[in-house]
């Protein structure tokens, strides 16, 4: 029994236990103090991080064909020929994901300690955060689809809880509900996929299932792939189910940082990568992954350009970047997708924590048109924000450069020029909108009014920002082309077969092109928005400024409105008018109240009989006895 297999169950278990303790305290009104609650929660994730690192070291240190540790906890379901055990597996993919989740999760927890001091219910916040980490770890460590499904649902639940954390705010409750309901749409896909998997393969265990994929009917495998894709689209907020992620910004900013970087949105990408063998069998499913990813990446990047809410702009950026990962999967670069997931997790967590600092300094105002000149007020946030921005856009030597290039190169190498072109445009748009945020928030003059800022508006804890900044610079170097540690570590089956045809000159010129495009995006943003940032017009005046070209983008292509008209309103009509007023109130309540009224009316009649007149009682008694006697005598005669 190796070290890793003994410690493996503890990785998700420790944050879960911490979440339980904190929930207990919330319910029964106990308190261990705000600071100590944060320390407990952070400590639990910290221990998981250490365990994950031990596991990673052990996996990386073993020979390539023995890089999987499976732990069977107990027999979960055993029905006839169907067996599913609660089993965890630590293989290269899982260990990388575990490291990212616990690493980013730990930093977000630590940052939260300082950030949520003013919230009234800190125990509950940390319980949710811990629970989210635990379920996400369960999701990536799952050895079979059922355990994965438990983690998947748990993550959805925690998303709902965290987004609706400020439960006195109507918008937060609505946003939480939206996230939960839209998540269910994807879950139907995943669940149907799991059932279908069992029908086709007879097992739900990844290790038994994936090698069988080439032997099964292509159509059936393709249907499973499409169903899984539906689940992934829901969880990873891809078009058309992306609308929930944009409202998650109603939650506390550190929670958004965790949801949108290392945990929830990566669930879908993880599922696709984990079941890559299925997708590889079906051109249809494979093509759909790429198509959804490309459309989402392009659409969200365009919309991000026109968002005035800092958090929403970042959320659209997340949607776009996750779309980029799907695009990578769609061109067969599963390793590159995971690599991009890694670099994006660091960059986006950092950006959201920076947004948290900005919101902290701006007393909760989120409109970038009312910011500006925060460079001097928030020096640490400014510097880390710039690093994260450069990391997200493909500027060397920051992390996004390596992962982005790897994806684009994979697309180009496979002669998939549509995907490649989409990637280039997305790179440009990403540089443009990140540059816009940079300019509007930090450069120029402060355009807000009515906010008194102290000499330093930084939140109490800033070192997680610095660690994440170092991470988003350094993480890229594990994926240098041709010396790529990560691709061979993940043993990407498709990349390994086609990698040799690469021409160094072509790859080099593509990298240069990509860098030039990113740089031109940033420079264009500087040119366009620098002036706007320097103007001293108050935010209110800017709000009414007509801007027809960006109107569609600002309205996010009307997707929310369309859903409102096409789905939410008919559903509400069905629920309110037909089901509530019609079925519930008329039929069910009517039947219930009607029977009660009937019995009441009958009783009203019968109680008149209880007159209190003793002689009447006696007479009735006597008449009754006589009637019975008569019946017995006459009846006896009739009977004979």
């Amino acid at each position: 029994m190796s070290m890793a297999s003994r410690l493996l169950p503890l990785i998700p278990l420790i944050p879960a236990i911490s979440a339980l303790v904190l929930t207990w305290l919330t319910w029964f009104g106990g308190s261990i103090g705000r600071a100590r609650a944060g320390k407990l929660a952070s400590g639990a994730v910290g221990v998981s991080l250490i365990l994950a690192a031990i596991g990673f070291a052990e996996i990386a240190g073993s020979p390539p064909d023995a890089r999987a540790v499976t732990v069977e906890l107990f027999d979960w379901i055993s029905l006839g020929s169907f067996r599913a055990s609660a089993a965890l597996v630590l293989d290269p993919l899982a260990s990388v994901m575990t490291l990212v989740i616990t690493g980013v999760g730990f930093l977000v927890h630590v940052y939260s300690v300082g950030y949520v001091q003013k919230e009234h219910d800190v125990h509950r916040y940390f319980a949710y955060l811990n629970l989210l980490t635990a379920f996400m770890l369960l999701l990536v460590l799952a050895e079979n689809l059922l355990v994965l499904f438990v983690g998947w649902e748990g993550v959805g639940l925690c998303c709902y809880l965290l987004v609706g954390y400020r439960c006195q705010k109507r918008s937060a409750i609505d946003a939480g509900m939206k996230a939960f309901v839209i998540d269910r749409v994807g879950d139907v896909g995943l669940l149907a996929g799991i059932l279908m998997t069992f029908v086709v393969f007879g097992t739900v265990s990844f290790q038994e299932l994936l090698p069988l994929a080439p032997t099964k009917d292509t159509t059936a495998v393709g249907i499973i792939g499409v169903l899984f894709l539906v689940g992934a689209i829901g969880k990873s907020a891809q078009i058309p189910l992306h609308v929930w992620l944009l409202d998650t910004v109603e939650g506390p900013p550190p929670a958004s940082a965790l949801i949108q970087s290392a945990t929830v949105v990566t669930g879908g990408v993880y599922l696709v990568v984990r079941t890559a063998a299925l997708f590889a069998e079906s051109p249809l499913a494979f093509g759909l992954v790429g198509a959804f990813g490309a459309v989402t990446a392009l659409f969200a990047a365009a919309v991000a350009l026109a968002q005035d809410d800092l958090r929403r702009a970042l959320a659209y950026s997340t949607v776009s970047q996750v779309g980029y990962m799907f695009l990578a999967c769609g061109v067969g670069a599963f390793g590159a997708a995971v690599f991009h997931l890694l670099t994006h997790a660091f960059g986006k967590a950092l950006l959201f924590l920076c947004a948290g600092s900005v919101l902290h300094a701006m007393a909760g105002r989120t409109d970038v048109r009312g910011m500006g000149g925060l460079k001097e007020k928030l020096p640490v946030t400014y510097r880390t924000f710039v690093i994260a921005t450069l990391g997200l856009t493909a500027v060397p030597p920051f992390a996004g450069f390596f992962s982005g290039n790897q994806i684009l190169w994979s697309a180009f190498r496979d002669r998939d020029f549509l995907m490649w072109g989409t990637g280039i445009v997305v790179t440009f748009l990403t540089a443009l909108y990140m540059g816009r945020l940079w300019m509007l928030v930090f450069e120029g003059r402060f355009r807000g009014s009515g906010i008194e800022m102290g000499p330093s508006g930084e939140p109490p804890v800033t070192w997680p920002l610095l660690v994440l900044a170092v991470g988003s610079v350094g993480i890229g170097f594990i994926g240098i082309p041709h010396y790529s540690a990560i691709a061979s570590f993940l043993a990407d089956p498709l990349a390994a077969t086609t990698h040799e045809a690469a021409s160094l000159a072509a790859e080099g010129s593509l990298v240069l092109l990509n860098v030039a495009i990113a740089a031109s995006g940033l420079l264009l943003a500087r040119r366009v928005y620098r002036g706007e940032a320097s103007s001293s017009r108050p935010a209110a005046e800017e709000a009414v400024r007509p801007e027809p070209t960006l109107g569609w983008l600002r309205g996010r292509f009307g997707v929310d409105a369309l859903y409102g008209r096409a789905l939410v309103r008919p559903l509400l009509f069905l629920s309110r008018t037909i089901l509530w007023r019609g079925v519930d109130r008329t039929v069910i309540d009517g039947g219930f109240h009607g029977s009660a009224r009937l019995i009441r009316a009958g009783s009203e009649g019968l109680r008149l009989f209880q007159s209190g007149n003793l002689r009447l009682y006696l007479f009735v008694l006597f008449a009754g006895v006589v009637a019975m006697l008569a019946w017995m005598m006459l009846g006896a005669r009739w009977a004979f």
Binding site: Q610, S611, G612, N613, L614, R615, L618, F619, F622
Partner: protein
Amino acid sequence: MVPVQHYLIVSALLFSMGATGVFFHRNLLSIFLCVELMLNAVNLTFVAYSRSAGNLEGQALALVVIVVATAEALVGLGILVAVHRGRASLDVDDQNLLRY
């Protein structure tokens, strides 16, 4: 020997008189006496049949009825005394508290 029908006619008359009294008397004590009359009408039937049948079962039943009637008289009269003390009236039409 007097035939059993004569006894039965007397018994039926006594029973009807008792029942009529129960229905139409208003004084609780009178009602009570009428109930006793009905019981004794039944006793007469028992004894008459017992005699005509030539065994003692009917007489034994009559004795049982007498014992029960005694016990009933005891309890009933006790209630009557209590009612009279509490309400200063023995009119049945006044005893109508237990109504809707």
